[in-house]
Amino acid sequence: MSIYEKKKHPFEAVLYGLIYFAGAFAALLLVGIIGYVAVKGIGSINPTFLTTVKSIANGTFGILGYMVNTLYIIIITLLIATPIGIGAAVYLTEYAKGGKLVTIIEFATETLSGIPSIIFGLFGMVFFGQTLGLGFSILCGSLTLTLMILPIIIRTTQEAIKTVPESYRQGALGLGAQKWRIIRTIVVPSALPGIVTAVILAIGRIVGESAALLFTAGSVYLLPQGLFSHLLSSGGTLTIGMYLEMAEGNTDNAFGIALVLVVLVLLINAATKLITGRINKKKGA
């Protein structure tokens, strides 16, 4: 063999083919899924679908109740999870410097992110639902989801805080500021874009969640009776509504909801891209 010949892999052409096929497959999969859902779902989207709730008397279907419940769960979950998540991230980056506790907290976060949502659902049902007596309610669902999204918030915030330059802290320390003040006025504000990213990622996770909510928040499709009393009443989200329609064989309704969900996911993704793009731009400048 001449040394001018390249050392070729025996299946060079085949492997190239497979790699291109795989890349094309992944891209086409997304295009196919979005296209299929859009084509099948667009017919179900109309004013009644978006602005009413299911009515057996009128024989109409609408998702307003599901949308309101989804919004409730997003807000309540974030109100609980965001402060805890940021707090944990601040503890890990600013207070604890190495040590066993950090390893354990990080292992726990890792473990939480690996637990499937159905297990969260079972735990939420028994602990928040039965032990704490919340039953099937928005609050029960939100508390369950809090545990589920905690890892995302902790990790993303941690990464954001790590990028805050040490000189900022040193400067503040030099001016006589104490730790809490540095965190409040320097660290958290500097890490804010990262924290916003964490919150948006968490919203994405909540919007797509179903198994953890089926046994905790329940599946009621009605509009809330009262602003705050709704917290303790059962409410199904868009995904739960979609699952129920699927199970009953109403695929048109299911595709309508699927389209709404996919659009939400696209928006959430675009928002994340926009913010991380800005952060990177700032870093580059």
Binding site: K7, K8, H9, E12, I19, Y20, F21, A22, G23, F25, A26, L29, L30, V31, I33, Y36, V37, G85, I86, A88, V90, Y91, Y95, L101, F107, A108, E110, L112, G114, I115, P116, S117, I118, I119, F120, L122, F123, V126, L150, Q178, K179, I183, V207, G208, E209, S210, L214, T239, Y243, M246, A247, T251, A254, A258, L261, V262, V265, I268, N269, K273
Partner: protein, 302 residues
């Protein structure tokens, strides 16, 4: 002398500590509650009767709670999904990290990320409407002459496996791609300098160097596949059977979803035992994961 500022400092330090500990408390509480809810059925029914019997008739006059087939289905189904999904995912990662021109990668990358964000019920719906009919046709072709086979209408193991294979794709692609990207450029340059082609370099240098990351991605994929519930509930068929491709089957996850709403007493406790079995699988996977990550970290330090 203590000013109010010092007190606030102290208090806040404790508040942050508590936030950190909540994650630990959550994992601990989940462990404890999974065992508390899962163990009573085992003691009542008997562990061998439960784990090694294949008859699941929870509502019969003389109920049986054997979950052997359900466990086997989850194991076999997950393995099949990995066998189908991982090669495509790793090759996609190779495409994105090594082969694709930057502009093309910039289009495909976000596509893969978006796939990860699509809710699992949507995958389930597509499974029902696209994969199920296809598999039914295949089933009719294969079993046309075997009267013993119970037709599933496409709601069977193989349909569920395809849905799972698609669902693990984004996880495996993203983690593998990142680990391939992290392979230092000088390794590739050395390989090229020895006259190796791009493909040889990828398969003999980059993939071996990124091995631990790829293994991590596969373990994550296993975790995702074994824990997925809503996407496959309506495509798996939901009868308790041996996990053959064209059998209607029940997974650990789908068993819980399908029966929890109407279960009572011992039946409900048995469902929690199924949850406990799933939880134990997940904890084993988690521990495997942290071991591989640790090994990867040590290898990186050398």
């Amino acid at each position: 002398m203590k000013s109010s500022k010092d007190i606030i400092e102290r208090v806040m330090a404790i508040v942050f500590l508590v936030c950190g500990i909540i994650a630990i408390a959550a994992v601990f509480a989940i462990c404890v509650y999974m065992f508390i809810s899962g163990v009573p059925a085992i003691t009542q029914i008997g562990i061998t009767e439960m784990l090694f019997s294949s008859v699941w008739e929870p509502t019969a006059a003389e109920p049986h709670f054997g979950i052997l087939y359900i466990i086997l289905t989850s194991i076999v189904g997950t393995m099949m999904a990995i066998i189908i999904g991982v090669p495509i995912s790793v090759l996609t990662a190779v495409f994105l990290a090594e082969i694709a021109p930057k502009k093309l990668a910039a289009v495909v990358n976000p596509a893969v990320e978006l796939l990860a964000g699509i809710p699992s019920v949507v995958y389930g719906l597509l499974g029902i409407l696209i994969i199920k009919p296809l598999m039914y046709r295949l089933e009719m072709a294969i079993f046309a002459n075997s009267p013993d086979h119970q037709m599933t209408g496409g709601a069977n193991l193989i349909s569920a496996v395809f849905v799972l294979a698609v669902m693990i794709l984004p996880t495996v692609v993203n983690v593998s791609r990142t680990s391939m990207k992290a392979v230092p450029a000088h390794l590739r340059s050395s390989s090229y300098a020895l006259g190796a082609t791009k493909i040889t370099t990828v398969f003999r240098v980059v993939i071996p160097a990124a091995k631990s990351g790829i293994i991590t991605s596969i373990v994550l994929g296993i975790g995702r596949a074994i824990g997925e519930a809503m996407a496959i509930t309506l495509v798996a068929g939901n009868a308790v059977n041996l996990p053959f491709p064209f059998n209607s089957v029940r997974f650990l996850t789908t068993g819980i979803v399908a029966e929890m709403s109407y279960s009572q007493g011992l039946h409900r406790q048995a469902l929690f035992t199924i949850g406990l079995v799933l939880f134990i699988f997940i904890m084993i996977i988690n521990i495997l994961l942290s071991v591989t990550l640790k090994k990867a970290g040590e290898a990186g330090e050398e």
